[in-house]
Symmetry: C2
DNA sequence: TCTTGACTTAGAGTAACTATAAAGACTTAA
DNA sequence: TTAAGTCTTTATAGTTACTCTAAGTCAAGA
């Protein structure tokens, strides 16, 4: 049983973001107490985890909303949900590949700068110096 | 020698984004011809590559601008640039780790749905069904 | 010459936060 | 018991980084 703030802390999202997600209709199953306060349960935290996951791989909020609506609709939508997760997973794998490429470039640049410093050399790589 | 459109196509960013970046001061070294048309050279494409890289690991535009200004300032800023690249690289490594975690969750969910479909079973994982 | 098409800029629109502000309920110290 | 403080709520404004639209310039082809 967690308030928005507690759930936000536990799941490592900002309170603002969690409220924003709530307003966006991502947690229609979260109950409120007599004072209108949202009370997240452990099973709700699992759902926050999924939303975090989908957002982190670039799924937009409209699509996340759609996915949660499929969940609510029940077991008849399992195939459709499977397809969404499958393509999301493929998308995430591409991102992983891309991120590895970018990391290589950063590795290269870091080594390059380190050598420059070590040898007290000029930066011939700088586009400014190329002219 | 490329126009904005050609450079955008070659570097796989949108023309809009490239113009936006140009307006943001990311390419102060790009020359224009007599008709005021931006002409990117091969060395400029390298720079687009760096900007793409920094953006893709979440560096904000203000910081990218700052980095490019350090480049323009010349060799006296090499140490500072090294520090930026180093911390960016560390940041990217954390993202890689995080992305791998998220990919695991997606793997798990995909398998879960696949089993559900195979066995024609009920979705007990769905937060809706948990109540 | 006319018009087509690629370029330019300014500025509006959008997504997803992110921050602020105002209102209401509970807690506790004076 | 009342005032202060802390929590929550909502609505709404602001921010970032695009993304798109519109209006203008200019050179080359029909």
């Amino acid at each position: 049983m967690y308030t928005v703030k507690e759930a936000a802390d536990k799941m490592e999202v900002s309170e603002h973001t969690l409220r924003f997600w709530a307003k966006s209709g991502f947690f229609p199953f979260v109950k409120r107490n007599k004072n209108n306060i949202r009370i997240f349960q452990d099973s709700d935290l699992e759902w926050i985890k999924i939303v975090k996951c989908l957002r982190s791989v670039g799924i937009d909020n409209k699509s996340i909303k759609k996915y949660i609506e499929l969940c609510i609709k029940g077991d008849s939508t399992i195939k459709e949900r499977y397809d969404i997760i499958k393509s999301t997973r493929e998308q995430a794998q591409n991102q992983l590949k891309e991120l590895k490429n970018q990391l290589e470039l950063l590795d290269y640049k870091e080594k390059y700068y380190r050598e420059l410093i070590k040898n007290n050399a000029k930066d011939t790589w700088n586009p400014i110096n190329k002219k």
